[in-house]
């Protein structure tokens, strides 16, 4: 083979480069065609639920300002860091005084890192809300709950703090056409860190969701791995019949410290035949609950059998701002009392990244 001159070597290189470009062009073009046109790059988001609720319990007024900031930081396509805290106050006049006194309570509801491993599995580590029933994880935020008082059985299954420290696996996927399964299983270690306390426990929740009739049915279990090592279990039910703006939700829970249930219905008057423009913003709510005291002694739960019903009236100025009000009556051997609530709730969301608002 004859040695090539520098010029011919250069032109040969150019020729092969052009050939390579020609060869790769269709591949690059094909790849660009195959990219998901819906791929949207998520940005960090700051969102906050806030409200001011005035409660009258047995004639005593309680002022309750609350702020619950939440920060969401997505990383890549599969990670999400999320943390929520709550600062709330309960200001009430001491007996014989007209001045409101009280203190602010601060808590870290969750600080967790989520890894979406695949369509079936998400792994969560850190401090997380305990997945027992539906209220603690889904309905608790002030801007979501239809009635501002907590259900009597809320402490069951959430241990004392409603949060755990450790790891959790969870997910939701199609079990069959129009049948979805969702699940969560966790292990929590004991934590005595201030504002981030948790009990040593393990448990989980599973539910079946039928998106056609919009029905969800599920069950939860928790085993406490400290102190008296008791078990708790519960069931939940949700139904939003598609033709009407009606929400029906219910929970039952049982533990060593007590058991009970609540059932709530909320109806948005958006289909009202009269005064439609005004009434479509109105939601009427009713909730019935019964609690049966158990053998244990929990500071979080009533120590006597208690029945309670409530009626609420909410007015949505916008989807993120509303006026809330309710009247309820509690019946217990310790004495019956009226419970009134009145307030405003608001939720805001802001991007924490340049260009995130576009």
């Amino acid at each position: 083979m004859l040695p090539l001159s520098p010029n011919s070597r250069r032109s040969k290189r150019r020729f092969f480069a052009a050939l390579l470009a020609l060869f790769l062009a269709p591949v690059v073009h094909a790849q660009s065609q195959g990219q998901d046109s819906e791929a949207i790059s998520p940005v960090p988001v700051f969102t906050m639920g806030t409200g001011f609720i005035t409660t009258f319990e047995g004639g005593t007024p309680h002022l309750g300002p609350l702020v619950a900031p939440l920060i969401l930081v997505p990383v890549g396509q599969k990670w999400l860091f999320e943390t929520r805290g709550t600062i709330e106050a309960d200001l009430a006049p001491p007996p014989g005084s007209d001045d409101f006194k009280g203190s602010a309570e601060k808590s870290v509801d969750y600080v967790q890192l989520d890894y979406i491993a695949n369509r079936y599995l998400t792994v969560t580590a850190g401090r997380y809300l305990i997945p027992f029933g539906i209220y603690n994880e889904r309905l608790y935020p002030i801007w979501i709950r239809n009635l501002q008082t907590d259900p009597l059985i809320l402490p069951i299954g959430g241990s004392e703090y409603g949060a755990g420290t450790g790891a959790m696996v969870r997910g939701g996927f199609d079990l069959a056409p129009r049948v979805e399964l969702n699940y969560a299983a966790y292990f929590s270690a004991h934590s005595s860190v201030s504002h981030m306390e948790s009990d040593r426990s393990a448990g989980g929740r599973a539910g079946i969701f039928l998106p056609g009739p919009r029905i969800e049915l599920g069950g939860s279990f928790q085993h406490l791995l400290q102190e008296d090592r008791t078990n708790s279990f519960g069931f939940h039910f949700e139904w939003q019949p598609p033709p009407v703006p009606l929400d029906i939700r219910a929970e039952y829970a049982r533990s060593h410290d007590g058991s009970g249930y609540w059932i709530e219905s909320a109806y948005r008057l958006s289909q009202s035949p009269v005064w439609q423009s005004a009434l479509r913003h109105v939601q009427v709510v009713a909730r019935m609950q019964q609690f049966y005291a158990g053998a244990g002694e929990s500071d979080e739960m009533a120590d006597v059998d208690t029945n309670q019903f409530e009626f609420g009236l909410n007015y949505y100025f916008r989807d993120d701002m509303r006026f809330v009000s309710s009247y309820g009556r509690q019946f217990s051997p310790d004495g019956n009392e009226n419970i009134w609530t009145l307030g405003l709730t608001y939720r805001l969301a802001l991007p924490l990244w340049p260009g995130g608002g576009k």
Binding site: F23, V45, P211, R214, G357
Partner: protein
Amino acid sequence: MTARRPMLLLALLLAASTLPLAGMAAGQGEANATNPPPAASARVQHEDDENARAEGERRFHANCGRCHQSPHKLPPRMMATIVRHMRVRATITDEDMRLILRYMTQ
């Protein structure tokens, strides 16, 4: 013999480079043969978009309405974060997440 080797290599490379193009052209040809004319194609595309939007809306109300009233639409990049948050918090399925995000960012 030695002068023929680069030519053979060149011919192979050329053939390799033209194969994807030929494939694409063939695919395009098939597509042209089976696809409707541009106006009809735009109509089909519009119907697909409408179907996806309707399905996304249905899933949005079925999933998001389980817990709260329907929120208003936010900017797409914020919506992508919030839908991922909901994927974890409300254990909605991967497909629901994609369809809801598409609906909420249209």
